[in-house]
Amino acid sequence: MTILDINGLSKTFGSGELAVHALKDINLSVSAGDLTALLGPSGSGKTTLLLCISLILEPTSGTIIFDGKPIYRNGWTDIDLRRLRREKIGFVFQTPNLIPFLTVRENILFPLELVGITGDKAEARVMELLEYMEIAHRSNYLPALISGGEQQRVSVARALANRPKLILADEPTAALDTVRGKKVMELLKKIAREHQTAVITVTHDIRMIEGFDHVYHLKDGQLNNAADAH
């Protein structure tokens, strides 16, 4: 089942002589359970592509079909895009980006409350995720009081809270050492396999994407499909 289908996507900043063509004719298709890696040097357009897939940045041209629905068509508003993000997309960042004044438990609870899941049902889901990530013993800790690896696991748990169709990971291992980085990548693989969640990860580090289904190279805004792992 295709979760994300991008066709002919381009993004240009500015106009005339000052125009910067950040993305050029990108085509990408991601199915449920797929592990997709986007590689590329700085300035290649990785973040711009991620922002377009995150439904934060509207492309200049091309189409994005997410979970069967064409985005930015038929009067999509910012409210619709946010709803889609909170219900169907999970985010894992380069740094954990946990909300510092919420405990581990509350950080995972927050996205659940945003979609109206509260009370025992929410608490049960939080406990399930804490145990799945093996951080239940840190439940009432503030993020600042746990290690970087644990913070990243909380970040993954938060991304999984609403059972998203797609997880977008922006260099999730960049702030971790190799051992911890590999653990996080293993976790993403496990999630993709066990929950049939599509995972797209942006990374600099080719060592971290072992076992990924699709690997794309971005260079000067163009996606090189030749690096497909299959």
Binding site: S54, L57, E106
Partner: protein, 399 residues
């Protein structure tokens, strides 16, 4: 989940320090309200405590409080003879400073007709009214006198026979009531050397060429003593049903005085002696309120900026705008309310130690709180605007 409360709970120390700082500022605002009210209350206190139907003062003068007024003492007989006047009595009023029992005391003496005249002390808290023509006084509690205390004033010693707590001069000094002759004696008491000098000057004037012989002049000098039978005003009580304006016109036209009702007397003070300080205090209150709002605005803005990355994350993971707006707004309202309550607590526990009256009123407290809340809403708009324009991309490190 209440994000604002969670954030504050994690930054208690910072929040409390801010509340104390802003709260002290509110305490200053509230104290200025009280000082303003107290200033007006004290400014009008003597008028309201005395409360005659009419004040008769020197012609073309706005006295006796707003400006100096001198009228002959015995004109109260002439005023009493007019239709519509039930009673008229003399009233004298002046400030003094004396060292009493080693302490420097400033107070204002009111002299009145103690035998049924108008303008005496009201609502005694201890003791009794003056019952003798001389050497008794009724004093404001603020002076620290006790019943039976002997207070030396001028040539004589006066016994405190009564105490009260309502009544101050326009400049806030406590009142002391004496019989009219005692008050006049203290007011006009002159130094012996000055008396001798004046007699010599008078004798020289009388013995000039073509005038009296020195022996004749000496006989007259002792008779020509300065007149101390002057007062500052005559107080009038009207007969029931009398037309106040008509009586005032009679006094003005026949006796050539100026006449004011109590309301007019209050108006004279408000437009005159109290006007400039009132404006000054009012302006100061407004500036203080503006400063408070600006400070709250900056605090809220700083609080918001410290959370800007968290706000970007919230927006990225799909939090609607109202979640972010609520976070900023709730913190602004909480900060304002807690600071205000702290300031209120400070001023209500300290206002009695101010040297002059600080008159706190529920009305002023409520209006200040509402203005502060409105200010907080305006102040938080800066933080809200900053939060709303935060791009979710910030969480990804882009844009």
């Amino acid at each position: 989940m209440d994000l604002a409360i969670r954030d504050i709970a994690q930054h208690k120390g910072k929040f409390i320090a801010t509340v104390i700082g802003v709260g002290l500022l509110f305490a200053v605002v509230l104290s200025m309200n009280g000082i303003y009210r107290g200033f007006i209350f004290e400014g009008l206190s003597a008028i309201q405590v005395t409360n005659p139907d009419l004040w008769v003062v020197e012609r073309y003068r706005g006295g006796p409080f707003n400006e100096q007024s001198t009228v002959p003492e015995f004109f109260h007989y002439s005023i009493e003879a007019l239709e519509g006047v039930e009673k008229a009595s003399p009233f004298i009023f002046y400030g003094v400073e004396r060292i009493i029992n080693g302490n420097r005391k400033r107070f204002t003496i009111i002299g009145y007709d103690v035998f049924g005249g108008l303008g005496g002390p009201q609502n005694l808290t201890a003791g009794r009214q003056i019952q003798q023509a001389h050497y008794e006084m009724v004093a404001h509690e603020k002076l620290g006198f006790r019943l039976g205390d002997k207070i030396p004033l001028g040539l004589h010693t006066y016994t405190v026979v009564g105490l009260f707590k309502n009544g101050t001069a326009p400049d806030g000094e406590p009142l002391v009531y004496l019989s009219l002759p005692d008050a006049q004696e203290i007011l006009y008491l002159r130094d012996n050397e000055e008396v001798r000098n004046q007699r010599e000057r008078l004798q020289q004037t009388l013995t000039g060429p073509g005038r009296l012989t020195p022996s004749q002049a000496k006989k007259y000098v002792s008779l020509l003593v300065p007149d101390i039978h002057t007062v500052n005003a005559q107080l009038v009580k009207l007969t029931p049903g009398a037309d106040s304006a008509a009586v005032a016109r009679q006094i003005e036209n026949r006796l050539y005085f100026s006449v004011y009702s109590n309301d007019q007397q209050i108006n004279l003070m408000m437009q005159g002696r109290l006007a400039m300080p009132r404006k000054q205090l009012l302006l100061f209150r407004i500036i203080l309120l503006i400063v408070s709002v600006v400070i709250i605005s900056l605090v809220i803005y700083t609080f918001t900026m410290e959370k800007i990355r968290s706000i970007a994350v919230m927006k990225l993971i799909g939090a609607p705008n109202w979640v972010v707006v609520r976070l900023v707004l709730e913190q602004a309202l909480l900060l304002t309310t807690c600071s205000y309550v702290f300031g209120l607590g400070v001023i209500y526990n300290t206002y009695q130690y101010f040297p002059r009256l600080v008159r706190l009123t529920l009305f002023d407290d409520t209006v200040t709180f509402l203005i502060a809340l409105a200010g907080a809403l305006i102040a938080s708009s800066l933080g809200i605007w900053q939060a709303l324009k935060t791009q979710p991309a910030l969480a990804l490190g882009g844009h």
